[in-house]
């Protein structure tokens, strides 16, 4: 076979783009798709805002025990935790479930993008969306009169960042686990159901202590651990080590389950 003239349109010139460019492209693509999806935006921003505004407006009538704190100061960290949970768990599970269904992961598996590059791209897209959510919700909280504790700003900030990081890891690994073992429709149903159940009874928006007798069990849920860690950080300027360890334990469990069960098709 003689080599083709260099002007030929399709003359082979194969090669992979540098990994960092591939990962950046993947992260940009996935962020764009997440933000374009109406249902996911509802989950990411609209529901947390409604919970925050509704909670602050109705706190007195509901007679919540907030241990002497203002409702907005307790609810804002909880809603930030809710937003992390919605994106890291529900959005990741649903998006990945349908990516498997539509053969996207399979197709990308035949591209130069390696598996770890794909995973890294997903993580960056997820962190990107979480950051956008947190900024929006912090602004809404401040507008509603939220005043985070300024006792030890560095401790508060570091504890909140750790909580968001550990919470994102725990929920994303559980989301990937669900997406990897069920059909896309089942993932859609289950991920939304779990989100609703945890939002209502999982100690994420309201302090675990407000659940009375059930609080002993609820505090071990990843939702309660994330909510409690955020409240400790932003209400009491305190790092809740127990809650962080609970999140890390869920992260380890979720990662192991995903690693053992996830299939790319």
């Amino acid at each position: 076979m003689s080599s083709p003239p260099p002007t030929s349109t399709f003359a082979p010139r194969p090669g992979a783009a540098p990994l960092h460019r591939q990962v950046a492209a993947q992260a940009r693509m996935e962020s764009r798709l997440m933000l374009r999806n109406g249902e996911q935006l509802l989950l990411a921003i609209v529901i947390p805002v409604i919970v925050l505004v509704g909670g602050v407006a109705g706190a007195d009538r509901l007679g919540l025990d907030l241990e002497g704190h203002r409702a907005v100061d307790v609810l804002t960290p909880g809603v930030l935790a809710l937003a992390v949970m919605s994106t890291a768990f529900t959005s990741v599970a649903i998006a990945t479930g349908f990516e498997r269904r539509y053969g996207v992961i399979k197709r990308l598996g035949a591209s130069p993008l390696p598996r770890h590059g794909l995973l890294l791209g997903k993580v960056l897209a997820l962190l990107n969306v979480v950051a956008l959510q947190l900024v929006s919700l912090v602004v809404v909280g401040l507008l509603l009169g939220w005043r985070p504790t300024l006792e030890h700003p560095a401790v508060s900030l570091a504890s909140a960042v750790l909580a968001v990081a550990a919470g994102t890891w725990a929920f994303a690994s559980l989301g990937l686990f669900v997406a990897g073992v069920l059909r896309a429709e089942a993932v859609l149903a289950l991920a939304n159901l779990v989100y609703l159940l945890l939002m209502a009874g999982g100690g994420v928006v309201l302090p675990t202590s407000s659940y009375g007798a059930a609080s002993g069990a609820i505090q071990w849920l990843p939702s309660a651990a994330l909510g409690d860690a955020m409240r400790s950080a932003l209400v009491d300027a305190h790092l809740d080590a127990t809650a962080l360890l609970v999140l890390i334990a869920w992260g380890v469990v979720g990662t192991l389950l995903t690693a053992r069960t996830f299939t790319w098709e």
């Binding site: 076979m1 080599s3 083709p4 030929s8 349109t9 399709f10 003359a11 082979p12 010139r13 194969p14 090669g15 992979a16 783009a17 460019r21 591939q22 492209a25 993947q26 693509m29 798709l33 374009r36 999806n37 349908f98 990516e99 269904r101 539509y102 053969g103 996207v104 399979k106 197709r107 598996g109 035949a110 591209s111 130069p112 993008l113 390696p114």
Partner: protein
């Protein structure tokens, strides 16, 4: 082409490949070669093992036993080295449902070092008018063309296309054929699966016919259709044949002829192409009181070859 890659030797070499899904044997001791710079068609009915074979070459599946080399590499162990050099078109899907056609193509292009110009490529594939359409709203043919564009955009040495023209209208089908021929001209090796005989006959330098996971024949279209025998007679009659008609006709024609009943009113006869065969067939019809509606003599088609080899029709 990278200096360390063996530029010679076959593009694909499969030897004694066995693949199973649970108890079901999908590929059963398959061996085949694909020469560089050619178009090779892997032909067979649904479930013959075509896609499984392709996906093993693409590194998706590990052989149960046997060996597969693609561009001199092991597609599973050397996956990272191989993948940038091949283009893959899946049988279906492969894009997010909400992604726009051009956005998807640009994304795949951005994963490669020297991608083709995506505007040119989409233009060539007639994707210009649907560039901003979300994937889920593309027609089946448009999705196929986007899949082909995604396989080509990285300027691969070798492309695997799984039923490239399924769901395309005749015009798009022709355009796709021309594109695949241009790829060959430009030095790209093309491996395609199809269950369309005309596609394989028109495009392929080499055809591998697969059935039940085994290779049953290989060769150029001419080699396959000329075969050992030289003629085929198709007999179609007005009323269903009487019982035992194929056997009776075979007896009348003698030992060098094969008779296959296609359905209640048609039969395929393969044998020496001399006047006596045709004469014997019409005499047999008269004797058995069947009235021929058509009696045609012709070169064997791939369809006939397949039928002869498997006793079944290759249903599209």
């Amino acid at each position: 082409m990278p200096a360390d890659s063996p530029a010679h030797g076959p593009a694909v070499e499969v030897e004694d490949l066995v693949m199973r899904y649970g108890d079901k044997v999908a590929v059963d001791g398959l061996s085949l070669r694909v020469e560089r710079g050619t178009i090779t068609a892997v032909l067979g009915p649904n479930g013959a093992g075509k896609t499984t074979t392709l996906e093993t070459c693409e590194g998706y599946r590990r052989p149960r036993s046997g060996t597969v080399r693609v561009l001199g590499l092991d597609p599973h162990a050397d996956r990272r080295e191989l993948l940038p050099r091949i283009g893959v078109m899946l049988q279906a899907g492969g894009a997010w449902s909400g992604v726009r056609a051009m956005e998807m193509l640009d994304h795949v292009a951005s994963l490669h070092a020297h991608p083709l110009d995506t505007a040119m490529l989409s233009d060539r594939l007639g994707l210009g008018e649907c560039g901003r359409t979300p994937y889920r709203r593309l027609s089946g043919g448009q999705q196929q063309r986007l899949g082909l564009a995604m396989a080509l955009v990285g300027r691969p040495e070798l492309v695997f296309v799984d039923e490239p023209t399924a769901g395309m209208d005749p015009q798009a089908r022709r355009a796709t054929w021309e594109l695949l021929e241009e790829l060959r001209r430009d030095g790209v090796t093309v491996v395609l699966t199809t269950h369309h005989m005309d596609e394989a006959e028109h495009l392929a330098d080499t055809i591998h016919i697969i059935d039940h996971g085994r290779l049953i024949a290989s060769g150029s279209p001419t080699e396959l259709t000329s075969g050992g025998r030289s003629a085929t007679i198709r007999l179609v009659v007005t009323r269903p044949f009487p019982d035992g008609a194929p056997e009776s006709l075979r007896t009348a024609l003698g030992p060098h002829t094969e008779v296959t009943q296609l359905d209640a009113v048609s039969m395929l006869i393969t044998g020496p192409a001399d006047g006596s065969t045709l004469g014997t067939v019409s005499a047999w019809c008269e004797r058995h009181d069947v009235l021929p509606e058509s009696l045609s003599l012709g070169r064997r088609t791939l369809e006939d070859v397949f039928l002869e080899l498997t006793g079944r029709e290759l249903v599209g």
